[in-house]
Amino acid sequence: MRFPDDQQITAVEVIRVKGEIRANCDLLLEYVHAVLPAAVASPGRLIILNQLRRDIFEVRSECGKVSVNFLRPKNKRILSRTRAAYEEMRLAAIVVCQQQEPALMDSLTVAL
């Protein structure tokens, strides 16, 4: 996931970014739901998985607040809250990865 570098952002770019964010959120949520039952016996793992789940919902919520109803390009500032929430979610996913397979942390950071 790469947020646009330009100062101005078009509605088309916002739609693309939101689409990629939602796709990553769906993948992470699917992973969390798949491993959550097995994590019940491990409190530390449960805490971090729940944190990731909260962060995913926060990102999806922020994503829903960004309007695409504009014609002229807008300042990329409109994505700042979504971007901050996404970075938190990325960090939570990295922490989950650190618990399971630390060697993959950097690959995951890049993939997300």
Partner: protein, 132 residues
């Protein structure tokens, strides 16, 4: 005399092939080491530079605070202290995200679930919750 393009290509391909072979060996060796480590039970000694290698960040923080809490009273540690301790104990953080970001994220999650507690109002020192 400049090398011909064909010779340059051959050298590049040979280097790539060599590196790929080394990478494959390293992956194999890593797996073998991991299995060998996992075949042992029990903790790594407290003074080992690899004491946190088998632990995730949260468990490593809890282990450290339990250890220092028992010896130096219920005083909190800063995020910087935790990062220094975890790095000196061989905790793996990767190279893209900073250890401070990762440790802060874990501390906040653990505080939220009451497994850790802020020890000051400014939320700079973290410690184990007092037993009630």
């Amino acid at each position: 005399m400049a090398e011909t393009p064909k010779r340059i290509r051959e050298r590049r391909e040979s280097t790539l092939s060599h590196l790929a072979g080394e990478y494959k060996d390293a992956l194999h060796y890593t797996g073998e080491l991991r299995r060998a480590i996992d075949s042992f039970s029990g903790p790594i000694p407290e003074d080992s530079p690899h004491r946190y290698l088998r632990q995730d960040v949260g468990d490593a923080i809890l282990a450290y605070l339990t250890r220092v809490g028992a010896s130096s009273g219920p005083k909190g540690k800063s995020i910087k202290d935790l990062v220094t301790e975890l790095e000196s104990g061989g905790c793996i953080f990767g190279v893209i995200k900073s250890p401070t970001e990762i440790v802060t994220k874990v501390v906040k999650a653990y505080v939220q679930s009451s497994r850790l507690e802020w020890q000051d109002r400014k939320q700079t020192l973290v410690g184990l919750p007092e037993k009630k």
